[in-house]
């Protein structure tokens, strides 16, 4: 079973993302919810994870810092990271892609957006 981490400090946002995943056919993956980047990083180090979906603005550790930690880790460096944020624009997106994010989606996220962003992941 595939395992996905959703990092967002909002319960509502995590629920929307889970709902999108179900709608696009990823209802049977194991979801690990994290309220901030540090919690997500700890979860990713503790087990095999296939995908990380993260917000940017979070307390404790923000999404940008999380991506830097993930990409600097020998174990997690290849983990695909998709950013789902309300603080995204083309300039920010370029910066996040440079850091190693796979895709950047703007909130409110919809099933078609998620489907497009996770096409590679769904193909596996």
């Amino acid at each position: 079973m595939k395992r996905i981490i959703i990092a967002d400090d909002s319960t509502t946002a995590r629920m929307f993302i889970k709902r999108c995943l179900q709608i696009i056919g990823l209802g049977d993956v194991e979801i690990i919810e994290a309220e901030h980047g540090k919690e997500a990083l700890t979860a990713a180090k503790a087990q095999e994870v296939d995908l990380l979906l993260t917000d940017l603005n979070m307390p404790v550790m923000d999404g940008e810092t999380l991506i830097k930690w993930v990409k600097a880790s020998p174990k997690l460096g290849d983990l695909p990271v998709v950013v789902i944020t309300s603080a995204g624009n083309p300039a920010k997106e370029a910066q996040l892609l440079e850091l190693g994010a796979h895709r950047v989606l703007n909130k409110p996220v919809s099933p078609p957006m998620m489907m497009d962003a996770l096409a590679d992941f769904l193909d596996d």
Binding site: S10, F16, P108
Partner: protein, 162 residues
């Protein structure tokens, strides 16, 4: 000089996009521009914009509307709704609205920085000369209001719609 698109419409579009996508409700301008949500029914949250302009955006609505939105989103009966769920929805709505507002307002290459939403505990601050107010309502005629405060934000309002 900040390159930008029309501010008033940028907010209307952001609120419409957010409520249609997140809570499946249409939003329009309130037919009564003098209407105020009664203070005893009002709940609100605010978020700071730190860059490239400095200001604060507040989202206010009635507790009844917030309960209705929370029920829609979580798909639960009104009696099962909890205060943390309502608080989280209110904050996430504002977070998404402000992100879309800044995306709609600013030029594509303009970065922006915003803070985290914080629930208002006190009465809503008075509207002053450096505040723009959007009086809106849902298709069920439930009112909601948005306030943008800060001289550098208000300076971007070319049309003086408020």
């Amino acid at each position: 000089m900040i390159e930008h698109k029309p501010l008033y419409q940028a907010m209307i579009t952001a609120v419409s996009q957010t409520l249609e996508n997140m809570v499946f409700m249409e939003v329009m301008e309130h037919f009564d521009r003098t209407y105020e949500i009664p203070a005893e029914e009002l709940v609100w949250t605010s978020l700071l914009i730190n860059d490239p302009v400095q200001g604060e955006i507040r989202l206010a609505m009635s507790n009844n509307l917030l309960k209705k939105l929370t029920g829609n989103v979580f798909g639960i009966d009104p009696e099962d709704i909890t205060q943390p769920q309502m608080d989280d929805i209110l904050n996430e709505l504002l977070n998404t609205i402000v992100g879309l507002f800044l995306t709609n307002l600013l030029a594509d290459n303009q970065e922006y920085k915003m803070g985290l939403p914080e629930l208002g505990e006190e009465p809503l601050p008075e509207v002053d000369a450096d505040t723009i107010v959007w009086k809106l309502m849902t298709s069920d005629e439930d009112p909601l209001q948005i306030y943008a405060s800060g001289a550098s934000i208000v300076a971007l309002n070319d049309n003086n719609n408020n």
